[in-house]
Subunit: 244 residues, 2 copies
DNA sequence: CGCCGCAAATTTGTATACAATGATGCATGC
DNA sequence: GCATGCATCATTGTATACAAATTTGCGGCG
């Protein structure tokens, strides 16, 4: 793409911040746009852990110079999605198995806190919305609508984060989830696991509706313990990675 | 400083990674060195929230070009210590009062989790070390050794993070503590508060030694609730900031 | 006297050029 | 035939140059 030399400032005039609202309202700079783009590629599994991130190649691929690329990489490095070894280039982060386990435990605890806060802090209307969302997901399970359920599942968990009423906590939970995303590519595989997941969600929702924070936290921990089991394998098969 | 023009590569040959081990073993690049330096200045209160971070000024002050400065700022922005408004420059982060409250609540919960994990996961030797550390701090309180206690206090809490056995969780807690640091400049002011703080630490230590995770978490929450009270004022006096 | 609009200036964003380090491959010696 | 050392190469780190945008100050107008 962009084989024609584009005069330095031939940018599309920055058409609108529409693309991906990175929370930087004014104007997404190239570095930020690139960062969100790469982050998506990583979390969606299009760039598996271990992938080398060569500055010049990325620059050429996106029609920019190395400068914004470097800044984007620094941003992602601070986020934890990529790993930067000074003078040795950057690669998509590939945490060691032990570290993955820690991240998963941390995520479980973060979600447990969020759920507990949800039980106490959510408005009646918000609780109703959560219940309705859960009901909708129930229909997806019945119909075997796997793809839809996957998306709805992410949305469900993020609703938990948001419902905590603590945006800082929500951001940490969300960031952790994104960092774990590359390692759950083939999650929720079986139909039985799908139904089980939905059932566990039910326990969480019930506890929140009842205003029982302790029960909600416990339900979340159970849910994530089950989920972890369904891809503990993935965490183990580290070696063969090394995609170009 | 550095008024003499230094030929582009007149660096001190990178004497040794000794200074501040940023966890990037090979070689601290200028950007990383700058980032840690600025981070210290911010957390130590030498650059209060709201301080403008002008690229060229920082570059001149540190004898480097704008490029490393920009990367350092990006790094700090991702850490949350500075705020970057595209095309409008960077300033030391100045969260709104509500956001500060959220961060404090999050920190309390993170520490509560860590303490709970400490109770379960710490080795007998580690528990002994923690108790000994606590005893040492007791002497400081008796002697009114305020400065020493402040440092020891930070070390105590970080020992809690490390003792959790979950480095990921520990990093989140530590990062949150650093982000809150600029707002606790004059904490632990009174002698009475000092003694109270130590007493609360005692409850935490006792619960951990007893292996009672629930009690440890509760003790941490009580401790931080008290601490918060001692600088809730600070969070309120936002307006006058705007230091050059 | 205050407000609006315009122009200069500061400051950020991006591109390019240069230097240095880490990696690679080959030739040489054992 | 294998290991070791050196030279070449590729890639990162840093500096500088240029363009765009925002801010600031001034002048005119109401």
């Amino acid at each position: 793409m962009t084989l024609l030399a584009r005069s330095r400032t031939d940018t599309p005039a920055r058409p609108a911040p529409a693309g991906k609202p990175t929370r930087r309202r004014p104007g997404p700079t190239r570095a930020e746009a690139l960062a969100t783009e790469l982050a998506e590629a990583i979390t969606e599994g299009r760039m598996p852990p271990g992938t080398a991130l060569e500055e010049e190649r990325l620059a050429a691929a996106h029609g920019v110079s190395r400068t914004p690329v470097r800044e984007a990489l620094r941003l992602l490095a601070a986020t934890g999605l990529v790993e930067q070894r000074p003078r040795r280039g950057a690669v998509v982060a590939r945490p060691e198995p032990g570290r993955l386990a820690e991240m998963f435990q941390a995520m479980a605890e973060l979600e447990a806190i969020c759920a507990s806060l949800c039980a106490q802090a959510m408005s009646r209307a918000d609780k109703a919305r959560l219940a309705s969302r859960h009901a909708t997901m129930g229909k997806m399970v019945e119909d075997g609508w796997l793809d839809a359920y996957k998306d709805a599942n992410v949305a469900f968990h993020e609703a938990l984060y948001a419902g905590s009423g603590n945006s800082y906590l929500a951001e940490m939970a969300d960031a952790t989830r994104r960092r774990l995303a590359p390692f759950r590519a083939a999650q929720l595989g079986g139909q039985d696991r799908l139904a089980a997941s939905h059932g566990e969600h039910g326990a969480i929702v019930a506890a929140i509706l009842a205003g029982d924070g302790v029960a909600a936290a416990a339900a979340v921990r159970r849910h994530l313990a089950e989920t972890e089991g369904s891809w503990g394998v993935l965490a183990g098969q580290q070696p063969p990675l090394r995609v170009g």
